[in-house]
Each structure stands twice: as C-alpha cells, then as structure tokens.
Symmetry: C2
Subunit: 444 residues, 2 copies
Amino acid sequence: MEKITIVGGGLSGSLMAIYLAKRGFTVDVFERRPDMRTNRISAGKSINLALSIRGIEALKKVGLDDEVLSDAIPMYGRMMHSRTGELNYQPYGTNNQAINSVSRGRLNLRLLELADAYDNINLHFNHKCKDVDIDKAIAVFENEKGESITHKADRIIGTDGAFAATRGRLQITDRFDYSQSYLYVGYKELIIPPDALGNFMMDKNCLHIWPRGAYMMIALPNPAGDFTLTLFLAHQGKPGFDQLNSKEAVLDFFKSEFADALPLMPTLQEDFFKNPIGALVTVKCYPWVKADKLALMGDAAHAVVPFFGQGMNCSFEDCVVLDECIEKYYPNWTEVFSHYQELRKPNADAIADLAIQNFTEMAEKVGDVDFLLRKHIEHDLCEHFSDIFKSQYELVTFSTVPYAEAKARGAVNDKIIDEIIAKDLIDNIKGNDHVKSIIQKYIN
Amino acid sequence: MEKITIVGGGLSGSLMAIYLAKRGFTVDVFERRPDMRTNRISAGKSINLALSIRGIEALKKVGLDDEVLSDAIPMYGRMMHSRTGELNYQPYGTNNQAINSVSRGRLNLRLLELADAYDNINLHFNHKCKDVDIDKAIAVFENEKGESITHKADRIIGTDGAFAATRGRLQITDRFDYSQSYLYVGYKELIIPPDALGNFMMDKNCLHIWPRGAYMMIALPNPAGDFTLTLFLAHQGKPGFDQLNSKEAVLDFFKSEFADALPLMPTLQEDFFKNPIGALVTVKCYPWVKADKLALMGDAAHAVVPFFGQGMNCSFEDCVVLDECIEKYYPNWTEVFSHYQELRKPNADAIADLAIQNFTEMAEKVGDVDFLLRKHIEHDLCEHFSDIFKSQYELVTFSTVPYAEAKARGAVNDKIIDEIIAKDLIDNIKGNDHVKSIIQKYIN
C-alpha cells in the first residue's frame, strides 16, 4: 500500500493521519515534541480553542464529535465587561447556537490515541524535521539522541505549523509566493482559577471579553472550573507589554482596565512574569503543493490570527477537503493535491483576512458610533429576517459555507445596511416589506 | 575610523560605498561575482535601465551625473507599436522631459572604478556572503577557492539584492514581516541589432512599446546602435512561455503579435532559446535595520517589478536618504538607521505598489474605453494646467517628491477626473476656470 509521511502530529496532522488510515494507506506521523500521552507537556500555543461547526463536522468523520463535545463547554454568547464592571451579554444566535471551548491538549491527545489504534499508523515522537527532498518524498529527522533518521514514502503531508520545515523547502523553489506578517499586538495567557469549592467564578457558558480597543482580554472556560484568559496588548507602546515591566505596573494596569477581573486573579503578578508573550502572525503562501509529492495543511499553509476563532476549524476543514479530493481523484495524486489547493487557498485567504479585519474592528471601531449603529442594524436583520439574512459571523461560525463566500456575503451585507441607513429604515426593520425587498435585491 | 561592511557591489552598494568613503569611513565592499573590470561578465538582471531624476540627483552627489548622462540615450516619449505596425508617439512631458537609457553594466563598472579610487574603500570580488552575525557586525564569505573569510566591522549594509543573504539573517529574528510575491508574467531579453552601417533601426529617442494587454514587449536603445527588447509574457498559458517551445511557435507568435519588429530581429529564434526566462518578484519586508548594526538597501529591502522604471532610481534614492541621515544623526547610528528606515519604507512600498498597478493597467485596461478616456483627460489637464496639475507618472519620474506622496496624488487626481467626467467637462478643459477650480479644490 502507498506510504504517506505526515510531518507534524498536532491537531490537523493527527486528524489527517486517521482519515488516511481509514482509506488503508500506511501513515508515518513524525512529531517534534515528546509523546504527550506519557509526558506532561504543553501542546504548544493556546491552551483552549473555540470549536465550531466546521471542526465538529471534521471530527464527525472519525466518530469523535460527540465525545469531544461532551468534554467541551458550550459558549452561547459573548459577555462584554466594561471598565467599570458592567456586563453586557450578546447571544451568538437565536437557536441556542454555541461555540465550544475545548482544550487543545486533550483534543490533540484524543486524536493521537485514536491514531495509535490503527495498525497502519506509526507515530514517531521526538522527531524534528531537518530537511525534505520533495521530489523523492524523503524527509530527514533528528531524534532526541541527535541521530539523523531518513524516511522515504510515496508522498509527504506537511502539518508542521506556522514555521513549517516542509514549507521552508517549498519556499526555495521557483516562484513561491510567501508572506509572514506580524500584528503589533502580542498575547499572554493568564488564569482565573476555580473558587475554593471548585466552581467557576464567572458565567461559564459564554466567551468573556474585556474590549478596550487596541488591547483587550478574553476568557474561555475549562472543564476544571478555571478560565484561561488571554491578554492581547501591543508589544511596544502605552499601554504595551514593554511598559508592564514591574509587578506594580501590571497591578495598576489591571486595576484601571480590568478591575472586575483583578479580584479573581490571585496569581496575576506571578503568572504575568512567568508566562511568555506570544506573537501573532499571518502566513500566506502559494503553491501549497508540489506535483503528487507534497501538500501543506493547517498553519503550515495558512497561519491566521485568532480573532475569528477559526484557526483549528479551518485546519480541520483542510483535512475534510483533502479527504474528499482523495475520494474523487485517487489514485491520481497530482489531481488530488491540485484540486485540494484550488479549493482551499481562496478560503484560507478569506479567513486570514477576516481574522485581521475582526481585530481591526475591535481595535479601531469599538467606540465608533457609526460602526455600532451598523452592528445594531445587522443584529436586527438577523433577528427579524433570519430566513434570508445571515451575518458574516454566522456564516463563518455556524455554517460550512466556504469562507470566501462568507466574506463576499459580508460585503453584500454592507451594501444592504448602507441602503437601510440611506432610506432611514433603521428603526423600522421588523416585519418591513421594504427592508425585505432590499435584502432580496442584493441576495438573489 | 569606523569600519563599514557593504555586502553586494551592485549599483546601490558601490554608490553607497562612495558616499561613505567621502565621509571618511573605512569601507569594505564584498561582491559575489568576479571583478567586472577584468572579466566580461553580466552585471546580472536587465541589460539597460531607465535613469530618471532621482537617480540623476544621487549620481550628482558623487559628480557622476554628467558623465553618465553623456553615455546615455534620452528617451523623450513612448512609441506605441500596434499589431498592424502603426506607430503612436506620446511625449513624456511638455518640456523635453526624458528618461535615459543607460547600460547597467557600464554604470556599475563606472561606480566601481570611482569607488576603487578611494584609499578607504577595499573591493573584494568573488566573495559570496554565507552568514552574518548581526549583533557583532561579522560577515562570513566564501571566496572562489572555497575558503571561508570572516570580516568584522562596526556595522553592515546589505545591498545584496532581492535574494539577500543579509536579509535572510534578519528574517529569522523575532517578528520580521516579509513577503515575496511573483507576477504570473516573466520576461526574456531579445535584441534588435544595428543595421549594416551601425545605425539604429528604429527611432532611438523613445521607449518603444508593443502593448498587447497581459503580454507586451518593450525596447530601449543602447549607444552601440542596438535595442534591448524585453518580452513580458505569462510563464504558463495561451500565450505563455511554456507554449513557445519550438522555433516555429516563436516565429508564429512574433508574426501575429510583433510583426513590425520581426524583420528587425535576425537572431530571434536563436536568442529566444538561448536567453533565460526571468521571474518578476516584489519583495517587501520590515524592519530594514537592526539597531546600529545592520541596514538593508535597494532590492535587498524592496525588490520591485520593472513596470514603472524606478527600481534603480529608488535604490539610489535610498543611498541619498541614508547619507542625509548620517549627516544629521551621526555618530548615533541607531538614530541614523531608524530615521533612514522610517523615511524610506513608506516610499518603497508606494513604488512597489505603483509598479504593480502599472502592470495591471497595461495588462487589463489597455483596451478599456473608460480607462483610455481617463488617460486622455489626465493628459489634457497636464497640458493645460501644468502649473497646478501633475500626473502621478510625472511626479514619480520627473520629480523627487516622495513616492508615497506621488501615489497619494494619483488618488486625488482620480477624484478630479471623476468630477470632470461627472460634470461633462471632458471636451472643454483648456482655459476653463471651472476645471481650474475643481483642481484647486482637491489640491489645496
């Protein structure tokens, strides 16, 4: 049977391995880190993630959806925290729609366990990719003893993340388009522990947001009763991580900006100086594939910033689409890879752009009266014309409509809202046939 | 005296070396290629270039402007060649404004000769940069014998082109923004030789253009009586370089597309298969500098596509600006480098975008009636309101207004033209006070 090397045993690498194993291929997964089943190690990057419909659909294909959801905490809306501590709850949708807080580590572990149950999947930990010979489908790894291991297969799938070694090889081939672009904002993870009885200290069924423009904090619940907080803040500036260089400065900053969270954060000052500052990068590249030999997936092909909560969902959707292309075009792998690429590239670009756009909106428009009015109109349209009007957020988060279509629909929605403002229908949306005809004019 | 390493002895490297030598610094220039003064080698990339005011001003600072211009051929306008051979001449400006066809090789040679005349400049040829320790300002080279040479200085200037080794080092530092983006069109250089008496076979005082939309050909005159042609064509497609895979296919293509040039190209079929296909890349990055240790210049910082004829001019302007920053901030090199970067980055981005925009206009709008109408209006405004209206092309090519300002002015000009169309003043521009007041409304 054909042999496939997967470089990277993170979320998309382990899921893709299972898809391939189910089709009977012999799969070798090489992961840089130690086996997380026997070592208490970080799965890298963020602690928890928001799983939504695209990710759920991908897990359903391997029968893991129910199990993962049972271990997740549904978040039915956003809870906005003002500087003075007022709360403002915004449900995600009318039908109890939710995004689900899952632990990256536990999800990754579960996928690896499932992968390991397949005889035709071999997991290799502590194998760091050093080089790839794309045309020969040979990958070279270094193990924990510093030994060099050469592995030859029929083709290679690179799921080795935003700084992928596999992509590095593609990058020095002819006419490879590549960009890496950093946000001026970085992030630091902090914690709100459970109370003395092990209970959540805030409402657990929502995504908590402390919106402050160009900086902000969010919190996602974990099953153990704690929340993982993520503080997004400029690397340099006032305020900026570089300014928060003493325990007093951190305390003052939280007192003034996140006063209601501060009493819930007993280890803030220790955590702040213990935890690293992460950078937020968008990576785009093209092509993602080389002939029938190499394909990139997940962050290796398209790292996105986290402001739409779609990084994992998008990567899982890559796996679904590649699997569908195998279904359709196998054994012609050149066709498999090229259709996969053509189907996914525009959508990965779209979600990357939407994630940046979401950040920009939060950073620059949070106090913009016009912007808030538009959001208000959009909300009313969703509520009163839910059969024909879908917001961009809804299409991205609660549907499997391709991201590029969701993005295009966002632009169309803007025109609808423009016209509603121009025709002074703002306060007269509910049940209004004129509004209905405007929507229908733009959305066939 | 302070020691400065320059990596790359091309156009901007050799010019910058002279600027620095004039200020008394000890300069070591390391160039990958052999000494072009004793070896008949290509200076790399295109054979001739269009020198305009920004480049001329930069050469003036080292007293080379008159000499270089005396060896150049002024081109006072564009000569457009239609498929059927009709010619249409468009002067660049009203005041005998010209761009100047210069030989990249001879200009580079002259700069190296001048550099070599300075006791405090040491030229090292056949030295390929292998690595850089930025913080220590140490560069490691490999010479033609394969020996490793380590050179330490106080700081390093990287002028080593679009695929710069110096930038490669910066690229793996924290939060480095980088993009390389290829055009789907590549290029191939061809030739129209002089006639039997050594005379030019077309008008030598213009830039010849065979505009055909997404593909096209241009010709620049050389002092020896020949023209260098550059064919821009898709790498793949119909038509595309991949389709022109036989002498017959090439001949057929030229017969149908460049019929008037074909009889002037006796060696077309040989040249076509001898000469390489070049790729066209835009490189952007940030930061360009690291503390007081490293600065990038020219293509190393900002490779642009050639459709505005500003690559060399922009790189020479980098040298002027860095020299001015030294004048102002020396001996604080951190200030020198950071001001240089802040002054140049927006302008390099602007000319990169304008060059792409020029290609897009040629590729997509050459037959667009609206576009041609707008160009016609712009031309009339330039002619009849030359004191207050400047086209973007004029500002880029015939002024030293920063590129970013020229680009912004282009957007303002678009609004002026919009209003002239909306108010139906298209055929009534000359001496019209209403038109004048529209221009003045937009341009303070």
